[in-house]
Amino acid sequence: MMGHMDATLTNGAPASLDRLDDRTLSCGGAWTLPCLDGIERRLASLHRPEATAFVCDATRITAMDVSGAWLLRRTLNGLETEGRRVELRGLRPEFAQLLQIVSATAVRPAPAEGGGTDSWLERIGLRAWREAADGLKALAFLGESSAALGQLLVRPPRIRWRALVRSMELDGFNALPIVGLLSFLMGVVIAYQGAEQLRTFGGNIFIVDLVGISLLREIAPLVTAILVAGRSGSAYAAQLGTMKVTEELDAIRTLGLSPMELLVLPKILALVLALPLLTVYADAVGVFGGMLVASSQLHVTFTEFLTRFEDAVALRHFLIGVGKAPVFAVIIALVGCYQGFQIRGGVDDVGRRTTISVVQAIFMVIVVDAFFSVALSWMDL
């Protein structure tokens, strides 16, 4: 794209190769990388001399670099493999030296990429094997972290309070604004959607049941978990992954410490404590949002709303919602940390694994939530 402009930076005309007569070729111009653009095409369309032995006159070459020397060598080699003998004449000594270096540097064609001939069956098998191995590794990680957690519960003094509190601040306290805003909006949205229907039936007061039960039981825990998975799960994966790339995890091990105990468990514990609290907060803010809409759209005053709330929304709805939060917390923290530990080598792997950690955590949170719904309805709760 910049070829034309770049040609101005070198001294002289672009590289050229022309046929003078039946026995002579003439090279000229600057055989340097910026001036080589287009020479390929001219080489391909070159009308080759008929004679089997001819002279290549290089007196007019004004500049040459490694790339130019190599291209000249390549061209001459090409002519020679066609069964001709070429004699190079008039090349300046410094350019001749370059040509020699290039000829001496063994350039074997690059080896073909190995394993390119896999059959589709082999690829499927390989993929399946990899997935299975991944599943096993995840299971091993779950076991390892459970064992570490068990040890920690037996010996509570080993809990890293500082890391735990720090993690609660970063992943819980700092998430308050965004969790509050979103659950407030969820409350508003649910109330608005319900208001339309309830008004037609004259059942304005049932807005309380609608907002209360759906928020407390389902929406608030789920929205909070999804937000935290996006905020903190990804951060866990990126942090641990970067620590792995920079060998910090190995440093921790060689100091006789356990990354599991030092990094993973505080995060799990912090999230298990913080997520229920965040959920309660989301409950309150969400219901408040519903309350505002109820009073403005359905003329249900705050007092009426709250009185009805006590009767209509059983305590179990709240408890079920908050009770799901620790489970979600464990899922988010484990998936994030697991993906972080799985990062190998490169920087782009950090990005890939971080994305996977968020998608997997949200996916698993929703699946587990569905299990909860089915199981709880069996139990008539």
């Binding site: 794209m1 910049m2 070829g3 402009m5 770049d6 930076l9 340097t32 990388l33 910026p34 080589l36 653009d37 287009g38 390929e40 670099d65 490694v66 790339s67 190599w70 291209l71 390549r74 410094e94 030296q97 370059l98 270096i101 290039v102 540097t105 063994a106 350039v107 074997r108 064609p109 690059a110 080896p111 990429e113 080598g345 490169g346 920087v347 782009d348």
Partner: protein
């Protein structure tokens, strides 16, 4: 000073970050075809100077001219042309980690030339071969390479566009003595063969004695002295003397002298 032979002229350069002074009145001239060393202790502003010459960072005051053009007054197009004429080997290689060695070397060729795929590939292989990187490994990713091999691969990328001016930021740091020696030899060879102008930032005394024509010793953000190693090792400045006449400095010098002796 500013003859036509000067490739880089740094003129009364000062750099400050807030209150911290990195450079104070630094002036350096690098001539065409020489290997110029910038040496000095950790944190003396060597790398910052290099970054300023490479337009990665702006000095607070002073002028830098590269190929006779003032870098502060360059247009985008000028900068692009300049970048094409310079090759840089970063301290940790800075190879693109998602690309193979071959793709790393091909990348600048693809960006800056309109050559065909075959030609670019073969040119890249040639550059890799010139650095002594084993060709069997060109399909490897950077994180599968040892430190020395990564350095060679990065050098291949730095010379991909046949630069006239090559910057090496601590090329031998972290290499074992054999690899470091091999790398010095490689730099020497490339300079001799290709007639490059090379700027090496290093505090490897062996490298300084071995490959560098002239060297600027930096300390406390100033140039303590500029000259050949021979000249500087006889200087009276206590800071320079400290640099050269510590046990490591003496050993490196003796070794260099021995080598010259053996060559004769």
């Amino acid at each position: 000073m500013s003859g036509s032979d000067a490739v880089i002229e740094v003129d009364h350069l000062s750099t400050r970050f807030g209150r911290a002074v990195v450079h104070e009145d630094v002036s350096v001239t690098v001539n065409r075809g020489e290997v110029f060393g910038i040496a000095g202790g950790n944190g003396c502003g060597k790398s910052t100077l290099l970054r300023e010459i490479l337009l990665l960072q702006q000095p607070t005051s002073g002028r830098i001219r590269v190929f006779g053009q003032e870098v502060g007054a360059m247009t985008q197009a000028d900068v692009r042309v300049l970048r094409r004429r310079c090759g840089v080997l970063f301290q940790y290689g800075a190879l693109f980690s998602s690309l193979t060695v071959l793709e790393n070397v091909e990348a600048p060729l693809r960006e800056h030339t309109e050559l065909g795929d075959d030609v670019i590939r073969e040119l890249a292989v040639l550059k890799i071969a010139l650095t002594g990187f084993p060709l069997a490994g060109i399909e490897k990713l950077p994180n599968e390479l040892s430190g020395g091999m990564r350095r060679r691969a990065a050098l291949a990328r730095a010379i991909a566009l046949d630069p006239e001016l090559l910057f090496l930021d601590e090329p031998t740091a972290g290499l074992d003595p054999v690899s470091a020696g091999g790398f010095d030899e490689l730099v020497e060879q490339l300079q001799r063969l290709l007639g490059l102008t090379i700027v090496i930032v290093t505090h490897d005394l062996d490298s300084l004695w071995r490959v560098v024509d002239r060297v600027a010793i930096m300390g406390d953000g100033r140039i303590l002295g500029t000259g050949t190693m021979e000249e500087l090792s006889r200087a009276d400045d206590p800071a320079i003397r400290l640099y050269f006449h510590g046990p490591r400095g003496r050993a490196a010098k003796e070794q260099a002298e021995e080598q010259v002796w053996n060559q004769k």
